[in-house]
Each structure stands twice: as C-alpha cells, then as structure tokens.
Amino acid sequence: MKFLKTKLCVTILGLTSVFAQAEIAVVVHPSNASAIDSSSISRIFLGKKKSFDGGGQAVPITQDASSAATDEFNSKVLNKSGSQIKSYWSKLVFTGKGTPPKVVANDAEVIKLISADPTLIGYVDASAVTGAVKVIAKF
C-alpha cells in the first residue's frame, strides 16, 4: 500500500512537471513586425483570417497530431479538442470552403520552414525556439 502511494505521488509529480514544461510559443519570420493577439492567432489557424494585421499574407503551419505541442496549442489557443478540430476542418474540406493548414512533423521543421518564409506562422514548444524565428506570443 505504502509503495503504491509513493508510486502514485511520483506519477502525479511527474505529470505536473510535464504540464509545467509545455509552454507553447507562436513563431513567425524575424522580419515580421506584426503585433497579434490570441483571437487573431486562432482565426488564422482556423482559416478565417488570411493576413497579418500589418498586412501581408498569413499562412499557418501546424504539427502532426501526435506532437505534444499540437495538443497544447489546440486546447490553449483554439480551445478545441483534436477531434473537434478534425470535424471543423472536415466540414470545410468536403464542401470546398477551406483547406486545413499544412502539417509538418516536429518543432525543428516548423522553425526551418518559418525561418525561410515571411508569410508563415507556426507554433513550437517554447524550449525549442531558436534565433532563426521570432516569438510573437506565448501560451
């Protein structure tokens, strides 16, 4: 019993530390001077807004559903579960009203693509941010 309790305790501590670490950074190209609020970020990632507030095309990229950053971003910024997002996009895709953002494999790939293209906006685990991109919001 005692052993089980200790184990439980460790597990709970382990879980909270995982949550605490998973801060999400929304990143753009370093040359992008737009200020952006969380509602605009959400609208861009849901395909409702197609340009940055300062003008210029905004093209979102997302990460694979299996990536931890995706879960965090969906629940913190879009306020939806993975299957709600999927059902949202299936309504648009199968009626010709929209196409979901391009999906890449991981944080490194998001940074690589964004550092080369000023129109892109993406999200990564905050700990993965490098100087090649600019952080415009953290959640």
Partner: protein, 391 residues
C-alpha cells in the same frame, strides 16, 4: 459494383498524376459503416427493416482536389453508397475561383444549401448525430447544377457568410412514389449564416420553377392520376392547380446553434410549399440538446413535421357537390378534389437519443435509437450502430 469505384479512383488518380507537375493535388476521404434494424416486424424506416442491414446508410467517398494556382481549383467527390449497391457516383464536381480573400465562386455540380448540415450531410464524422433529423431533412434531392457565390466577412466580433446560388435540378423526388421524375428550373436562393464564438444563426430562402410527374405512382388503381384526370375533364383549371407543372416552389429555413461550455443546443425550422399544386405545405422543426464529456457526446432530438393542404381556392364552394354528366352517370367533384388534396397531408413526430464516442483521432463510434410516429400509425423504432471516419 466495387469495380466501378475502383475504376473511378484509378481514373481520377491517373488523371491527377499526369498533371501533378503543375497542380498541387489533395486526396481526402470519408466513410461510414452503419448497421441498423427496426424493432418491429413489417416496419421499415430509413431503409432498415427487422433484419439487421448495413446497406442503407453505409458509404465511402473520395475527394480529389487540385489547386491550379492563382485562386483556381477543381474538386470532385466520388461517393459509393450502400443504398445504391455501392455504385460510384460523382456527388460533387466543381471549379472554384477565389475572386479575393473573402469571395469565392463555384461552378458545377454542387450541394443545395437547404439545411445547416446540407453541405456535409454525408460526412458523419462532422457531427454528433447518427443522421441529421429526418423529419426536417426531408427533401431527398440534395445537389444541383449551377453557380454559387460565397462571401465571408466580419461584422464587429461576428463572422458572417452570405451565399447566393443559381441553377437547376433534374432528377427525382419522393412525393407519390420513391422516384417521381422532377425538374427544378431557375432555382435560386440566398443563405446567410452569422457566428459569434459559441452562437450561430442561419436563414435561407430558395425558390424554383417546379415540375413533378406522377407517372411512377405505384398505386395499382392510380387513384391520384385518375382523380386529377377526372376533375380535369370537367374543370381544366382545377387539374392545372393540382398538377405540379412549372409551379413556383419555395423553401424557407431558419436555424440556430449554441456550443457553450460543452452544452450543445441546436434547432432548425423549415417550410416547403409549391403554389398552385397538390403538394402540401410542409412545416417542420427539430430541437436537439447535447452535452460533451471529453470524448463522449450524448444527445436527444425531438422533431415534428406537419404537411397540411388547404387547396388554393375555396373549391368547396366553387365545386358542386355532384354533377350529372348523363342520366346514369354522376360525378362528385367536391369530394374528389378534397380527397386528392387531403391525400397529401401527413404528421410526423420523432424522438431520438444517441451518443458519439471519439475512440480514435479520425473515427467516431455512434449509437442511436430513433422512434418515429407517422399519422396515427404505431411508432417505428430504429436502432443503429455506426463508425464514421475521415482521412
């Protein structure tokens, strides 16, 4: 039958790979596998009877969409329905062009946006229900050939979408048989949806010059056809006001939806009317209430539909009770007319409970029990279990 689907896919894939150098091509798909059964013998509903069947609501669909650049794209959706012996058919096929960031024009074979769920009626994964409420979603024809213009804009904190469409439909409806040949010309409509975070409201008006033939009437005595002919032989104008021949049909739909703190409330109200015809005025609504618990959603729906027919004029005073054609032959125009008119009246009440479980990121499992009562007949219960997926 499966070969037809395979052939269509190969053809479509072949066509895209040949031009893949220039175009960015996407392939998406969705599928539903649903088993259903009625709990009563000799009763059928939604295509099910008292033997478990997978055919009525199962379907597979593939969508191929090519982005040709500069806002131009071509999309085709090929669907294979169990109810159609899995024969593959083009459900949608259209070109679309983005005039600017907020306005898109589509041309080709498109979905008529009668209802809130019309556009993605077949994509079960996109909603919680096993099927959209059938007392309201009663118009069996769902696609048209023509143009659609969609504009998205914002009004303060509200997202607003206005769609206008124009085109025609040539196919069948189910009025006196399951397949009455029908033509809808000069079909036009406007559909407006506004959304504020957790709240959505929608209104649509559509109309079309409607013609429906009763030649497929399965009634062995063909009472409806003979009745109209008989009345018409004496009163041609009355027959013309019963037949559905280039008469203006109109559709009005109003709806709202709330998705607030996992509470889901939705309702739609619709009316269908074809003036100067035997077609009854149809009014129907549903109210659905649901709640989302993580991966589970539970819902209950109540539906009511009423088809009433009062006739276009007060024929009861215009038409004589009886008319002697010869000394031995008397007809009863008023009774004949009233019988024809009231043959189209119907009341339907439906109650549904069900649940959706997202057991996989791309798939949902659904259980549903629907009880439908038409006029004074005993209620017919349908149980269904299905899996919907998107890929």
């Amino acid at each position: 039958m499966k070969n037809t689907l395979a052939a269509a896919i190969v053809l479509a894939l072949g066509a895209t790979s040949a031009s893949a150098i220039a175009a960015d091509t996407r392939i998406n798909g969705f599928a539903s596998v649903v088993a259903g059964v009625t709990t009563d013998e000799d009763a059928s509903m939604f295509g099910y009877n008292d033997n478990i069947s997978f055919k009525p609501e199962s379907l597979f669909a593939l969508q191929i969409s090519s982005d040709l650049g500069d806002g131009l794209s071509a999309t085709a959706q090929i669907m294979s329905r169990g109810s159609n012996d899995y024969a593959a058919e083009f459900e949608w096929a259209y070109l679309s062009y983005d005039i600017n960031d907020s306005t898109q024009i589509n041309a080709g074979k498109l979905r008529i946006p009668f209802y809130r769920y019309s556009d993605f009626l077949d994509v079960g994964y996109a909603y919680a229900w096993a099927r959209p409420p059938q007392a309201v979603y009663s118009l069996v024809f769902s696609t048209f050939d023509g143009l659609s213009l969609v504009n998205n804009h914002t009004i303060g904190d509200w997202d607003s979408t206005i769609q206008g469409f124009y085109g025609s439909y040539d196919g069948s409806v189910d009025l006196v048989s399951d397949e009455d040949p029908a033509t809808l010309n000069n079909m036009m409509g406007i559909n407006w949806t506004v959304t504020y975070d957790w709240f959505t409201a929608r209104a649509i008006y559509a109309q079309a010059e409607t013609s429906i033939s009763f030649e497929n009437n399965e009634d062995p005595e063909r009472l409806l056809n003979n009745g109209i002919a008989l009345v018409g032989s004496i009163y041609p104008q009355v027959a013309s006001d019963l037949n559905v021949d280039e008469d203006i049909g109109s559709f009005i739909g109003l709806g709202f939806a709330v998705d607030y703190n996992n509470l889901l409330v939705e309702a739609e109200f619709t009316t269908v009317d074809v003036e100067d015809s035997i077609v009854a005025k149809q009014e129907q609504y549903y109210v659905s209430v649901g709640y989302r618990f993580d991966d589970f959603t539970v819902y209950a729906i109540t539906e009511h539909g009423e088809d009433t027919n009062e006739g276009d004029y007060d024929y009861s005073s215009d038409l004589p009770e009886s008319l002697a054609i010869t000394a031995d032959y008397t007809v009863y125009p008023r009774t004949a007319y009233q019988t024809l008119i009231s043959s189209q009246e119907e009341t339907i009440d439906t109650f549904t409970v069900g649940t959706r479980y997202n057991f996989h990121p791309s798939a949902a499992l659904k259980f549903d029990i629907t009880s439908t009562k038409i006029n004074d007949a005993d209620a017919i219960n349908v149980l269904s279990v299905g899996v919907d997926l998107v890929f």
